[in-house]
């Protein structure tokens, strides 16, 4: 890999318009990545998912070179219908469209040449990789007291021009005081066998509200890694919903720093997996000051040969009295070949806190199936109905009605 990556890096430097300083910086990140390479199961965070092996097995040799000098045609058929929205369109990792037509333009600032400040010094080699290879980083600032009228949909599209590529992209969002943003990430892949590496950073000032919905629904053969870092000031709220279902492999990491009093974070997730898929969600909620709250609900439905993992950590600093932290993960295994792994973790240094976690896994309740069948449903219908009910309460946690209905339609959940 090392030779390939170095050659690809030099090629990118030649074909891009990076400043000398940028290149220096990128080189440092490249070397940092090369030191450790892709994470393996030896790292505690990757215990349940050995990314290095997964890439080797399903992609083989990766290419790190992407030519960003040509623009791709935007296929408008991918756009969500029946929902007015703003758009950012990534195609094969290149930003092709930024469209905030529904908003007051002086309330939103878009900086297309933002230097992603590396506040995430977690020895995360994928971040180093991202910093070394990502092309442009957009920073979107929502001004004080402004709520976006319509949701922003980020389309992550790939087409068949690429294969066995590593694609890196990142976005930075700043939500100033009293502002709010609804953000939907939609994954739409025409390409196969790529490793897609996404970093988002959110900075929430006082009273800001962020709702981020990540929808990975369409079956695809890609490997995806996505990292959200969320910084939260007083009274801010973040809500993250993950539908983890489409990619071959996917890992969503959500790191949330509750550093302002009365800030709160909600993470809800669904794994709906099949046919050898392997997905993971890992959350770290850091309660750093008094009176903060977090709530997490993760549910899995696992079919043949699939595997899901949930690692959830609640950290409570000794200053963070009156923390309220809750975490629940539940899994239904549909098949003898499926596997559920969990590591719900509490790390607590303050004594006046309310923290709990629960985890349960097992098969569909045969008695319930029997009950439904005795009322005339077929075995298949009964099963579907029960799974539907099992997942519905996660979707019900979505606080935005418009988006809740959209998600329900997308995954075919009935009420």
């Amino acid at each position: 890999m090392t030779e390939q990556i170095k050659t690809d890096f030099d090629k990118i430097v030649k074909t891009s318009a990076f400043s000398e300083k940028d290149v220096e910086q990128k080189k440092i990140y490249l070397n940092k990545f090369l030191k450790t390479g892709f994470p393996t199961r030896k790292l505690e965070n990757w215990k349940f998912s050995d990314l290095s092996q997964i890439i080797k097995k399903s992609i083989g040799e990766l290419s790190f070179y992407n030519d960003y000098s040509f623009s791709n045609k935007v296929d408008t058929s991918i756009f969500v219908e029946g929902l007015e929205h703003n758009k950012i369109v990534f195609i094969n990792g290149r930003v092709e469209k930024v469209d905030f037509t529904h908003e007051d333009h002086d309330k939103i600032e878009i900086n297309s040449d933002f230097k992603f400040v590396n506040r995430l010094e977690h020895n995360n080699s994928l971040l180093s990789l991202n910093n070394a290879f990502s092309n442009k980083c957009y920073k979107i600032t929502i001004k004080k007291n402004y709520s976006l009228k319509k949701p922003l949909v980020v389309y992550h599209s790939t087409n068949n021009k690429i294969k066995s590529k590593n694609i890196n992209l990142k976005l930075e969002f700043q939500l100033e005081q009293n502002s709010s943003l609804r953000l939907i990430d939609l994954f739409n892949d025409g390409a196969e066998n790529n490793f897609i590496n996404i970093f988002y950073n959110f900075d929430l000032k006082e009273n800001a509200i962020l709702k981020n919905y990540k929808i990975d629904k369409l079956q695809n053969k890609n490997i995806r890694y996505s990292y959200n870092n969320i910084e939260q000031d007083n009274n801010s709220v973040s809500e993250t919903f993950v539908l983890s279902s489409g990619s071959n492999f996917s890992k969503n990491e959500i790191n949330c720093n509750l550093k302002g009093e009365y800030s709160s974070a909600f993470v809800n997730g669904i794994f709906s997996l099949n046919e050898g898929q392997h997905h993971e969600i890992r959350t770290i909620i850091n309660h750093l000051v008094e009176n903060t709250k977090s709530y997490q609900l993760i549910k899995s439905v696992l079919g043949e040969n699939s595997k899901s993992a949930y690692q959830g950590k609640i950290f409570v600093d000794s200053k963070a009295q009156k923390t309220d932290g809750y975490q629940l993960s539940k899994a239904i295994l549909l098949d003898e070949t499926s596997e559920f792994n969990a590591k719900p973790e509490l790390e607590i240094y303050a004594d006046d806190v309310k923290c709990s976690h629960g985890s349960a896994s097992g098969s569909l309740d045969e008695n319930s199936i029997f009950y439904l069948m005795s009322r005339g449903l077929s075995y298949k219908q009964s099963k579907e109905l029960l799974i539907n009910g099992f997942l519905l309460d996660v979707v019900e946690k979505i606080t935005d009605t418009e988006i809740k209905n959209l998600v329900k339609n997308m995954i075919g959940l009935k009420e």
Partner: protein
């Protein structure tokens, strides 16, 4: 009271902190083949035993000391330790208790463990281990009548080599992790128990461990075999003198339960925890593993961990036999600068296997406590289930409580349920108890004992009383 007086008062709390001035025979300092040969030689071991040790040592040389645990500790210089220390008077093995060095008898009397059989302790048979050797085993004759073997490991190697050969290292192989392998190479003594087919052991068996010598590691090895349809309840207690240095205790305990057999293993661990500033104390790095080998077998671990500077152990069950049951009940208390990283592993391999985990962690002062556990249900372990309950209680905001359960389910017929909570003793509860005349420490003791009740109930009567007192004592000075 001035500070010094207070300190002296505190030190009195660890009433086992005295040391016995007794002449010792020691192996030369350091860890090498010669020392292992010295140990094997002084114990007049057969060649197969020495080979077992040397094989483990070969493996040990390739292993790295693990470092993933939460409590970190300064590097241990394994060459700067004594691996064998025995009272000189034990050199020519005394034939009976009457021949035992009176100083040793006195030590155990001070510890509340009378070895003379006339001072029988509620019908509990005791094997007393002093530093590296077993000094006395009581009630031997009565047990022998039923075919029960209860003796020191050294004696078992001499007298029951077939049993030892057949089972030693079958649950914790010589190729296991760092500390377990070290133990396999240098273990000195410990207890051996064999309960024959169909026998319910008529009394509690107990080993009492005592570290006396300084700069000495204690590496005992315990092997308990419950043959088909048998039952045994086994208790261990531990104390050590107060010393400024940290002392290493790396024991191995192997349990094997055959068809329909049950082993109940209870520990009340009260090694010296170090002083209030965290100086000294025992490093309690112990490997305990039980194999439910036969169908319908059951292994139950109960532990009350109040001592040691660092406790790092995961008494585990491998549920191999169909319908076998594994249980783990734990109370771990850390105060001052103590640290604990403890829990269990339940490995479900057989069909219809069940496991239950109840862990109660209490941290006070500047201490740090981690529950770490693994529940692994294999794809062949059809219709298996686990229930885990981990509760933590924090006293003050200078301490930490962590819960790290690993859950792996590869079987759709199986159910795993896990619950965890972290809370504190409320001001209101304290006020209520105080209004009824209890002082704050009594009140905390009462509330904490209530918090731990589910686990205390698992202990045999005599130990339960002792453990309840210990729970109170361990938390002294943690309120106010």
């Amino acid at each position: 009271m001035d500070k010094r007086e207070k300190d002296i008062e505190k030190l009195k709390d660890y009433k086992y902190g005295f040391s016995t001035d007794i002449e010792n025979i020691r192996a030369p300092k350091g860890l090498n083949e010669d020392v292992i040969k010295f140990i094997s030689n002084i114990k007049k071991e057969p060649k197969w035993m020495l080979d077992f040790r040397l094989k483990a040592f070969e493996r040990f040389k390739q292993l790295k000391e693990p470092n993933w645990q939460k409590p970190k500790y300064p590097k241990i210089d394994y060459q700067d330790l004594y691996y064998y220390s025995a009272p000189k008077s034990m050199n020519d093995k005394p034939k009976s208790l009457d021949e035992l060095d009176p100083k040793l008898l006195e030590t155990y009397k001070k510890l509340g463990i009378p070895l003379q059989e006339q001072a029988r302790l509620n019908g509990i048979a005791v094997d007393a281990v002093f530093d590296s050797v077993s000094v006395a085993t009581t009630f031997k004759d009565e047990l022998t009548k039923q075919g029960i073997i209860f003796c020191s490991m050294s004696e078992a190697i001499q007298k029951h080599p077939d049993l030892v050969k057949k089972y030693l290292g079958t649950v914790i192989p010589t190729t296991d992790h760092f500390f377990a392998t070290l133990n396999s190479a240098v273990f000195t003594d410990g207890s051996f128990v064999y309960i024959p087919e169909g026998i319910k052991c008529p009394m509690e068996l107990s080993t009492y461990f005592r570290i006396n010598a300084s700069e000495t590691g204690q590496f005992e090895r315990t092997l308990i075999i419950a043959d088909k349809g048998s039952y045994v309840s086994y208790l261990e207690g531990c104390t050590a003198p107060m010393r400024d240095e940290n002392q290493l205790h790396a024991a191995n305990v192997e349990l094997i339960a055959l068809d329909d057999a049950e082993i109940k293993y209870s520990t009340v661990q009260n090694w010296y925890p170090g002083d209030e500033n965290g100086k000294g104390g025992i490093y309690n790095f112990v490997t305990k593993r039980g194999l439910c080998k036969g169908k319908n077998s059951k292994i139950s671990w109960t532990q009350v961990e109040t001592g040691s500077a660092i406790t790092w152990k995961y008494p585990s069950c491998i549920l191999k036999g169909d319908n076998s049951i594994g249980e783990f009940y734990s109370i771990a208390i850390t105060n001052n600068h103590q640290k604990a990283d403890t829990g269990t592993k339940m490995i479900h391999l057989g069909k219809n296997t069940k496991s239950k985990i109840v862990s109660k962690g209490i941290s006070a002062g500047f201490s740090d406590m981690t529950y770490r556990g693994l529940v692994d249900i294999n794809s062949k372990a059809k219709n298996s289930s686990n229930y885990t309950q981990c509760d933590s209680l924090l006293m003050g905001n200078k301490c930490g409580a962590h819960t790290v359960p690993y859950i792996k389910n590869k079987n759709l017929d199986s159910n795993i349920a896990h619950e965890a909570t972290t809370s504190k003793i409320s001001e209101e509860q304290l006020h209520y108890c105080q209004q009824r005349g209890l002082n704050p420490e009594e009140a905390v003791g009462l509330i904490v004992n209530g918090f731990c009740k589910e686990v205390l109930q698992q202990l045999p009567m005599e130990f339960a009383v002792e453990a309840q007192k210990l729970v109170g004592i361990s938390l002294e000075g943690s309120v106010g």
